[in-house]
Assembly symmetry: C2
Homo-oligomer: 315 residues x 2
């Protein structure tokens, strides 16, 4: 289950999720292009079902289950968007979704999970507590674990956005995604290089959760780090298969401060007119921080989600 998907798995995923997921639009902004000195093609996964790209991977996992397995439901741990996506995906198949959420998660995201029909299980905000409660729920219910980023079915689902994006903007020669656990980055890298081997691939990571950048620099996966960033969607450590994919595809990781990310978030709201969550803005922050790496390029920029608390904006 923890191997990496190939392009055939990603193509299968695209067919599997097509009846349920949305084809999200690609938006552009002359003002942001001018600021960046590059052509930016924003893939608006904030407009995906559930408000985040996570629905792609969750939906592929849910519909990959054999009928007998599916009847016992699915289980995961997630601080928000993946849990919500899994609950929504489970609802498309009429099966149960158990979602383990750490104390301190964003209230709006928890409400969305419950609205989607997911059952919330609260635990302490540590990796160990999450995994223990997930294991317990698996034993109790027989539900299938759908890990937020190390699951190959999840990575394949996330990779489907590249198939869409290249139909919408075939001229792209670079791509950038945020990096949290690396499910999106891995799926995107595999799909992108299968279709265009010369693609330049970038990742954006908060300086306060820069385990991917450190791991790639060291050549070995950093397995502990205390994340300190406002980017609540990017606090996870890069997974083992995810790290392998980032390294194999030579993903160039750019780290950005929270201040740079919040400034970029404002730009995405004011210029692109898109409500995106703070984690999504790391990508524009990275482009504006390292303009020479993008100068003159046609860059696919993945905006990962739009689930924000409008009463607690970070500026």
């Amino acid at each position: 289950m923890n191997a990496l998907p190939d392009i055939d798995a990603i193509r299968d995923a695209a067919a599997r999720i097509a009846p349920h997921a949305l084809v999200t639009p690609v938006l552009r902004s002359a003002a942001l292009d001018a600021l960046a000195g590059a052509e930016l093609y924003f893939k608006c996964e904030n407009l995906q079902r559930g408000g985040a790209f996570k629905f792609r991977g969750a939906c592929n996992a849910v519909w990959s289950l054999a009928d007998g397995e599916a009847t016992r439901g699915v289980v995961t741990h997630s601080s928000g968007n993946h849990g919500n996506a899994l609950a929504m995906a489970a609802a498309t198949r009429g099966i149960a979704a158990h979602v383990v959420v750490p104390e301190g998660a964003v209230q709006a995201k928890l409400e969305a999970i419950a609205r989607a029909g997911g059952t919330l299980h609260r635990c302490a905000p540590t990796q160990a507590a999450r995994e223990a409660m997930c294991a317990e729920l698996q034993t109790q219910t027989g539900a299938a674990l759908v890990h937020p980023y190390t699951d190959a079915r999840v990575m394949a689902g996330q990779g489907t956005l590249v198939l869409e994006l290249l139909r919408q903007a075939p001229q792209l020669d670079a791509l950038i995604t945020p990096i949290g656990g690396g499910g999106l980055a891995a799926g995107v890298a595999i799909a992108a290089h299968a279709l265009k081997p010369a693609f330049a691939l970038f990742g954006a990571e908060p300086a306060g959760a820069d385990d991917a950048a450190r791991s790639l620099a060291a050549g070995v996966r950093v397995a502990s780090l205390s994340p300190d960033t406002v980017c609540d969607g990017l606090r996870a450590l890069v997974g083992v298969p995810n790290f392998d994919a980032l390294r194999a595809h030579r993903v160039d990781v750019i780290t950005v401060s929270d201040m740079e990310t919040v400034a970029a978030m404002r730009l995405l709201w004011s210029e692109l007119k898109q409500v995106v969550e703070v984690s999504s803005a790391t990508v524009l922050a990275a482009i504006l921080k390292q303009p020479l790496r993008f100068a003159g390029r046609r860059v696919g920029v993945v905006l990962t989600g739009g689930n924000v608390d409008l009463d607690a904006l970070p500026w």
Copy 2:
């Protein structure tokens, strides 16, 4: 100049602005459809050039000028989006744009006008002061007046969004726009009924600037009113030809309180993930206030603009 455009003028406008204006996307939200009990197709003019539908009308006016007239530039009065749109449209033809702005206009909008190359002329915040300064500038410079909403070329430009929308969502049977001066509402009504005579047409108006509703109820245009609404884009009185168009096309005007509009604005941000300005939210507020008028319908909902001050959100 103050007559109403016909569908041929709107089709000509579409051809004239095509090299400059954007085809804006139509977005949907399952959550908002469920709330409304109708199918809502949001025409996202917040994603138009300059962040508002106003570019359509301004661009058509600028490119309708004969060469000799164009060299003397254009002039208008506008608290924001039309002024910005005219400055941007003038820049596409390389001509001057003089924009008369009342004291107290939103600072972000004034900066946008200046950035687009427009020359700002400040005046007292009264209709008389605006018109006097416009007339003075016309005399001084020979610039052509492009009125924000009574100009037939402007109305024709605004109507072009219906041609697009019906290609994107041919199944629509109702349409709703905000009503300020009525340039958008008139252009949309003329285009909509020319293409689909059975279209049900609605307008949304702030209760604190409800001159269109009062005028239609009285059968005669209300020519004075002191607007009191947070909807800064909808404080103008409906123009004379605009009133004629609203009446001829039996536009059903629904008034909404500022509180209802601000609540609808939050929904557009949180569910549709679109940054829209408060005036744009009147349309969703009207649908949610009068659901029986829209029940089961396929409604085109025009989101007019996305130029907001992110430091002064109304909630």
